[in-house]
Symmetry: C2
Subunit: 351 residues, 2 copies
């Protein structure tokens, strides 16, 4: 029997009943892949694992939260859902909405559109609405409207999103039969680190694990409000999925780091790109640039002698590299060799 | 415990031993999704399921065959692998090669490169070699070289590829606890229909199912050598993944259709695009254009009153839509509405 999606898999831990109409695309159940070549290249004597969230249906971890948010919207009788997003959230919201027979609306700041990022939302028949002002203003507008009209907001302030996302931690523990010592992940809106921490603490309470991991969140240096302790008005980073200047789950992320004796730190775009290329080039796993922030954090901390031998380190890779294939082409060596004869070919192959 | 990849999941049916070093990225275990909205839109009173192969690690069904081909190459001591490919095969070959610590070489016909299609191979550090001549000549060259030099050919003439791919049929049967009545899928090189048929017949022999499905393969009309009964010198279709004029598994595909009382038929590009948009717009599943050929076949045959009530129809969606997001943008309605005020927004939302 193949994986039934996160709600069926972890029903007991989620706010659903036997009557809840489950809207699923088979999300979750993603592989936790050992990464010995990457660990060796870093030089760290740790057990390193990559949680590859790129193989979710819409290509990112957002599906975990969206299956629950849309399921609950359906249960409550919603016919319309709305979000402000230019990226992975809009793709997930649109896909799960049509799956549930609902209509999705996506608000984006005027002029700031890369159509490629909206390809999925458009294929899934979401209506794209451009609004004056920046992302925060778009979010304020959809929040306002969803309070008084029959339309469900599925941005991350929807509490079901984090409830769904916490299942990532369950899967890690189920695969390892214990919690790791450290969990590294990118921090943008800070919802995922909050959700993983929630998942780990629930599993500890249930006696499924005997200790909690240190939660290690990494922001991009040009977009690091939590590290800097202040809102970043014009966040800058090539890691678009974590280009957020005022994270919705700011306080909870800080709490997760504090309670777990972990940290929220930052890495430069160069460090992110290096990690991104190492993951693909050494382990065969293609992730989004932003996804590599956690691994970049491992590299940074290893240089400071942070790890102890035998540490068991999990990094969440939040999205698939195909989400931003254009970026990969920019950073790839585009060199191709012309081969004019069989002799030429043999030479190129080293024979 | 999450899905361990197809070799561990179906070890008993595959040519591996306890000593075989398994190279896996957690491929397979893909969802079989009921598609009631799509069936209703088509107007067919059938149980329709979509086998979503886009959620494999490199985004296509090729991973099933490649995990086994690369695993066997590793077992046999190979350090280099080679393939002729401009698409999904090169992505899978490159990813699994680095995962196994091997070096991949990808031959492509000179000048015929869309770099985007090679983004994955490049990220996974394959060496790209351009050769004079067309795809068939490139394939002939790599076949020749792999016969006399220590480099493993992983094109579909590598027999382990189909052995791995047959696990798709196992998963369908395991999920349904029986075989479907019909299995629809796109036909390009014709390996997948051959492999699924192999899987179904093996499962019947094992007593895991009580009947075999009709195998229904669909080529693109501009690239339909099997249907036309002759090689197509210059195959044309927007469905690039099945743009093949001289399929490697031609005879076996015909045999699968004949033995199962199914058929090999064709659909136009227009029919493919219609199906592609319906799948994304009604079920929330984003696939490659070529992937939609099977569903286009269902639509075509329904118009001819082919189905009986209660038929249980599975369509394999071979790859993720993110593989060719640019194409989706071309076919999407790129209309976005400008919203200048809250009143404007409410109007757009229908309130």
């Amino acid at each position: 029997m193949s994986w039934p999606g996160i709600i069926e898999a972890y029903r007991r831990f989620l706010p659903v009943s036997d009557q809840t109409p489950i809207i699923t695309l088979g999300e979750g159940g993603t592989p936790l892949l050992p990464a010995p070549r990457l660990a060796a290249a870093i030089g760290a004597k740790i057990d390193l694992y990559l949680k590859y969230e790129g193989v979710n249906p819409t290509g990112s971890f957002k599906d975990r939260g969206m299956t629950l948010a849309i399921t609950k919207a359906k249960e409550e009788g919603a016919e319309k859902v709305i979000c402000a997003s230019t990226g992975n959230t809009s793709a997930a919201a649109a896909a799960y909405s049509v799956r549930g027979g609902m209509k999705a609306y996506v608000l984006i700041p005027k002029g700031k559109i890369a159509l490629g990022k909206l390809a999925q939302a458009m294929m899934h028949r979401a209506t794209i609405l451009q609004v004056q002002g920046n992302f925060d203003e778009a979010l304020a507008l959809v929040t306002d409207v969803s309070k008084t009209y029959p339309i469900t907001l599925v941005n991350s302030i929807n509490p079901y999103r984090l409830q769904g996302q916490k299942t990532g931690a369950f899967e890690v523990c189920d695969d390892l039969s214990e919690a790791p010592t450290h969990h590294f992940l990118p921090v943008g809106n800070a919802g995922n680190i909050t959700a993983y921490w929630m998942g780990y603490t629930e599993y500890l309470k249930e006696g499924k694990i005997t200790h909690l991991p240190k939660m290690m969140g990494f922001q991009a240096a040009g977009s690091a409000p939590i590290v800097l302790g202040k809102i970043v008005k014009h966040p800058k980073t090539i890691a678009t999925a974590i280009r957020i200047g005022n994270p919705a789950s700011w306080k909870n992320a800080e709490l997760a780091a504090l309670e777990s004796q972990g940290k929220i730190d930052m890495v430069t775009d160069e460090e992110i790109i290096t990690a991104y290329r190492m993951i693909a080039g050494l382990e065969g796993i293609f992730c989004e640039p932003a996804s590599a922030a956690g691994v970049a954090g491992v590299i940074k901390l290893h240089k400071r002698d942070y790890f102890k031998k035998g540490d068991r380190v999990v990094c969440t890779l939040t999205g698939h590299g195909l989400k931003d294939a254009d970026f990969s082409l920019k950073t790839s060596i585009k060199e191709t060799t012309m081969v004019k004869s069989k002799e030429d070919l043999l030479k190129s192959l080293g024979f």
